[in-house]
């Protein structure tokens, strides 16, 4: 058995398309400006489970 031209083409297209997508996504993510967090202004509400403080 050897790698046929069609098999090689499928391998190259599959691997390279995934590589391009991954590289593009990671490039976009890693080159974004640092996240600015406005603490507690838009954060989800804290869940207070005070009625079971001594549950454990």
């Amino acid at each position: 058995m050897t790698l046929t031209p069609v098999g090689a083409a499928i391998m190259i297209v599959s691997v390279s398309s995934v590589l391009v997508l991954t590289t593009w996504c990671l490039y976009k993510v890693l080159t974004l400006p640092p996240e600015v967090v406005q603490e507690h202004l838009k954060a989800p509400p804290d869940i207070d489970t005070g009625d079971t403080v001594n549950a454990d």
């Binding site: 058995m1 391998m11 991954t22 509400p45 869940i47 549950a55």
Partner: protein
Amino acid sequence: MSNSSQGGGEQWGSRIGVILAVAGSAVGLGNFLRFPGQAAQNGGGAFMLPYFISLLLLGIPLCWAEWTMGRYGGTNGFRSAPGIFSVIWPHRAAKYFGALALLVPLAIYMYYVLIEAWCLGYAFDYLMGNLQLGSEPAAYQNHFDDFIGNNANGFIYEGGSNTLVGVLVFVFLLNFVCIYRGISKGIESFCMVAMPIMTICALCVLIRVLTLDSEKLTAGLGAMWNPDPKALLAPKTWLAAAGQIFFSLSVGFGVIINYASYLRRNDDIALSGLTANSVNEFFEVCLGGLITIPAAFIFLGAAAAAQGGYGLGFVTLPNVFAVMPGGRMFGFLWFLMLFLAAITSSLSMLQPVIAFLEEGLGLRRHASATLLGLISGFGTAFVMYFSKDRAALETMDFWVGTMAIVVLALVQSILYGWIFGISKGNDELHRGALIHIPWVVQLVLKYISPLLLLGILGGTFYLDGSTYAETLMNGGVPLYSVLFIGAILAFLLLLVHIAGRRWENEGRLKYKR
């Protein structure tokens, strides 16, 4: 950035952190063992056509739906599926469907952590030089059987493999230490270290395989990638491809919806979701597709390369490493990588349940971790006890790891497409989005994904269900395993009921009448 160590105030520390955590959850043994085996057995290169179609029509859209619902639920004060489902669908019944999103990760964890221990045990054996057993395949099969107790139930109670018990206890504790430390300090920190190490280990093994004798290498690549177009006419191929996408991306595991709930209201989910998926595909197609089958073929021939799953991973590949130059080191790197891939996944299976125990029952972290440890430990002991022919493991893997994940994905796709609504879903997905997602994705989620999921469910049950159902009729371990799964589900439903009453009393759930 504040990251409370307990309770509902937890959040991810960074954008790349959550992406690596979700990718770490998705990248697992399936990428390196299941995918190459499935591809080689279902048309080779031809398998990639249904595989990529499934990725585009099922995998990526459903992941976006889970990210959307998870963040929406999180911004409305819920981290666990019962609460999030109740926010999406304000109906008394909604929370009970959430029990399925607790059952799936919990039950899968019970056997997955055991396989994780196999990987670390094998890595340790390579380090100590205990796995250089010559070129005879039977030696590796015997080693595997002895190591996991494949020949008899209850081997650990009869002086069986103490090594595995020790490794399992270590792995179990490591999982719970990470979970106890919380989302940012535990899971995120671990994945930020583990994912790069995993990539380096995989690249080392890949370079080793790609620098072998070129004539043999092309033959090995041919075994994986040469297409058999006739396979495309078989429904089995399409089912296998869709199933692989499901298993690989952690769709329907109840994990992404929980992880996304720790995001802030305006955090991006569109690019983050796509990036996590693409990282998973990198490990699967670029690394798994180029290493496993070609290496097996090069050293052991077509018959060995035709194997899949555990046989490929724990019998064939150790045999390959034994005859490969530098095999001991590459064997260690390979199983270390598999262990890291597995533990980043198993961590994600614990978090949905621990989040529920905390917000549903009001338990604090040490109490919830202890309770979860007891439940999951009992389940793992069950799977480990019934080790003969891996009967308990295989049964749970089929009914939960194959069937239940499709059911959960179907529930989630209906919740998203038909109850939450694609218009609202599209707005929510694009809140803070760093890329634009075409509207057609919403149409796919509403109309195509549920139909495909129904087809997968019916097809899988038609092809494999009757065999498993017959096995159940014969009683024994498969029946015990299914009864055990049923008991866990009943217990979770009870807990969800209690949590629902609690949330109603607190005024956190408001139902439409």
